[in-house]
């Protein structure tokens, strides 16, 4: 008996047990066929990256899972597996090729704005204590709006439900609170005065 015959016979027995519901046998089948299929995909589609080979392998494993009822224990296992693996790996590679065609590989995404404008030196988080104190000084409606919309990042709808204020009132209160905080923290309004 050759080595391949031995592996085939062993996998056949395991697969028959797996079909009967033996999960340990099934786990062994999948674990043992994974390197076989990986080699097959690598040999046939040498141009694929390691990630794409794993992608194709996983597609084959899923198909083995879904088609396991088509295996007839009276027949050899490896031809069954190879037919399935050839068929599904071709489909997987087609899909990978289509996906690659829609993607453009870039080392670094281009910046859309001048870095000097988008990274001002004075753009710091500021003083959290001063912010907290300034928020505490706001009228109640503005304070609630700022806390819910900015600090707790609630949506307008959620904040309206929680505060009992209308969405329009929340928007106005948040806008006014932002202006008041800017003046309180920087001494300037949004026009720079």
């Amino acid at each position: 008996m050759t080595n391949t015959d031995g592996i085939g016979a062993r996998l056949r027995d395991l697969m028959v047990a797996a079909q009967a519901g033996d999960r340990t046998a099934y786990s062994s089948v999948l674990s043992e066929i994974a390197p076989i299929v990986r080699r097959l995909v690598r040999r046939r589609f040498g141009f694929l990256s390691g990630e794409d080979i794993e992608d194709a392998l996983q597609e084959v494993l899923l198909s083995v899972h879904n088609a396991r009822a088509t295996y007839d224990g009276a027949r050899p296992f490896l031809p069954w597996l190879m037919a399935l693996a050839h068929n599904r790996s071709v489909d997987a590679v087609r899909r990978i090729a289509r996906r690659s065609g829609r993607e453009v590989a870039v080392a670094e995404y281009p910046e859309t704005f001048d870095p000097a404008d988008t990274n001002p030196e004075d753009d710091t988080y500021g003083d959290p204590e001063a912010l907290r104190a300034a928020v505490a000084e706001l009228p109640k409606g503005q304070r609630v709006a700022i806390e819910m919309l900015k600090f707790r990042e609630m949506s307008l709808k959620e904040a309206a439900g929680a505060s009992g204020m209308s969405i329009a009132a929340l928007k106005v209160a948040a806008h006014r609170a932002t202006k008041a905080l800017r003046v309180a923290l920087t001494g300037r309004d949004d026009r720079g005065n």
Partner: protein, 220 residues
Amino acid sequence: METDALIQKLTDDARPVRPLARPWLRALLWLAISAPPVFLVVWWHGLQGKAGMAATADLRMTIEWLAILATAITAAIAAFSSSVPGASRRWLWVPLVPLAIWLLTVGQGCVEDYQAMGAAAFALRPDSECYVPTVLAGIIPIAAILTMLRRGAPLVPRTTLALAGLAVAAVVNLAMLLFHVGDISFMVLIWHVGVVAVFAGLAGWAGPRLLAWRNAPLAA
């Protein structure tokens, strides 16, 4: 997802499965399910009035009838076989033999009709009374073969469904012919053989839609 994690997931999902029977057994099962309703529908629609059961004694008709039956069985076996990974692909060509015999017998009928009737042998008229029973008769065989094929692996879905379409159309034809032997062969050629070809072609075209793999691609 890591491959090891997928293996674990598939193992957790693994329930016992009943291995599919051999393709020829499944083909016979399909025929046993399909043939009685087909014959019942055709008979129910009163086409037995034209009956030519006795005419099956005619040798050419008998050969034609047997060729259609063989086409149905071999096409069904080939369809089931094509959805089993690793099964011999030689089966896919076998239905061509009875199909060729069927076409030859119809062709011979056309020649005989021409010799007996002249140009009238090629008169073509719409056979509207056949439409409803044909469609009704096809419902159960189509549903049965689709349900059975979906348990297999859709390796070559176009071929599989074209063969299934051929099998269904042949069974329906078998029943129609049994009650319709009075027709001239040219009518049979156009309406029966033509419909078989169109139906098998349409089925093949719809193959990838009706017999898709149910596992969604992982990295779609």
